[in-house]
Symmetry: C2
Subunit: 202 residues, 2 copies
DNA sequence: CTAGACTGCAAGTAGGCACTTACACGCACC
DNA sequence: GGTGCGTGTAAGTGCCTACTTGCAGTCTAG
């Protein structure tokens, strides 16, 4: 513990893990310090508050989300490929974060500080996808008889519930390899068969 | 407050609402008592513990779930009709409960008591649906190339995410009428188009 | 080798928490 | 009219929590 270089990061890592499992209210600063292998006092010296830790964690998540949004489709990709890739990215990111985002999304209702941080991130993501979907409804690749917002909701419902189920049901937190998990492929296939127009299916 | 008749129920109602919003750890017994319009001491006289309240709430939820499971398909109904009805029931039940079940599902990870109570409810529900789906895969009404468990997951993902989104995004907790909400119909239609075999699709 | 930044350790504070105790009031039933 | 039962009120207990203070050690930079 002598090196000063990564103390802050270790604290945030520990906090993220604990918040994801126990929620914000259910996590004690002592537990964070212990998990980080750091003295509790150090917590308050680096981050002013318990909320300060959360705040720092929030900006971290925001950066990750930004990265996700930035991953626009390369032109060579089909809509189907883009969406599947997005689904895997979403799931991987969420699971890697120990479902922090989902958990905090709930806490946001009661801890105003969290609400501010998570801010418009989730709705914005959904709106962004809806826009993308609407474009491809216009080109006839996706069904036009379903509201793009509903379609986006279904998409995120698919990915978030994949993660939720594995948390709630206590399954292994991370399958061997998300990028090749057949379950995701099937789940996505179901979504795609429902979302695409007839000629685009299969 | 003189009448003794419904004190226990009022306490449970208040607790359910608060647990749903603040989580178990984030809810104080004082807050429950206040919301129920009851003295805090009464809480401990009726239910031994804070956990006791949760326990009582758990059996309540279990009964609701039981009611859901019992609603087997009348013979006259098509698979599609049955699933749509199930979806609406699921959503209505979950939203009526203020998303208590979803919230507690998360707390279950950290509060062992909750885990026991919620117990196998959710997995069982999923398994039951998977069985139902498998039967209709056999008759050729549903696609056989998707694992029935994956299909069940998609179904519950659809319903639970409908509720989640409305919580997370702070939308009105209950649309005017769930049983006629067009959003659900579209969401379900997307699922159905993905799950049914070609000849069954509309 | 000195200065400063970073950390650990021991002890403590004030407040909030779940939960308790003791007493008094009102109501129903016999 | 007395006996319970259910409830309210007041006060308090001990524990845990976020957070603080003071001091000492260690590493790095100049």
């Amino acid at each position: 513990m002598s090196a000063a270089h990564n103390t802050g990061e270790r604290i945030l890592d520990a906090a993220a893990e604990l918040f994801a499992v126990h929620g914000y209210a259910g996590t004690t600063t002592r537990a964070i310090a212990e998990a980080a292998g750091v003295n509790e006092v150090t917590l308050f010296r680096r981050f002013e508050n318990k909320v300060g830790i959360l705040r720092a964690l929030g900006t971290r998540i925001q950066q990750q989300q930004a990265g996700f949004a930035a991953a626009a489709a390369p032109d060579s990709e089909s809509v189907r490929e883009t969406l599947l890739r997005l689904a895997r990215m979403e799931i991987e990111a969420t699971m890697a974060g120990g479902a922090l985002a989902i958990r905090l999304a709930f806490d946001a209702k009661s801890v105003p500080e969290v609400a501010e941080l998570l801010g418009e991130g989730i709705p914005n993501n959904a709106a962004g996808l809806a826009e993308f979907l609407a474009e491809h409804q216009a080109t006839g690749e996706l069904r036009a008889d379903i509201d793009p917002n509903v379609m986006a909701e279904a998409f995120f419902g698919l990915t978030s519930s994949y993660v939720m189920y594995r948390i709630v049901m206590g399954v292994a937190p991370m399958p061997a390899d998300v990028s090749t998990d057949d379950g995701i492929a099937q789940l996505f296939d179901l979504f795609w068969s429902g979302a695409a127009t007839q000629k685009e299916r299969v």
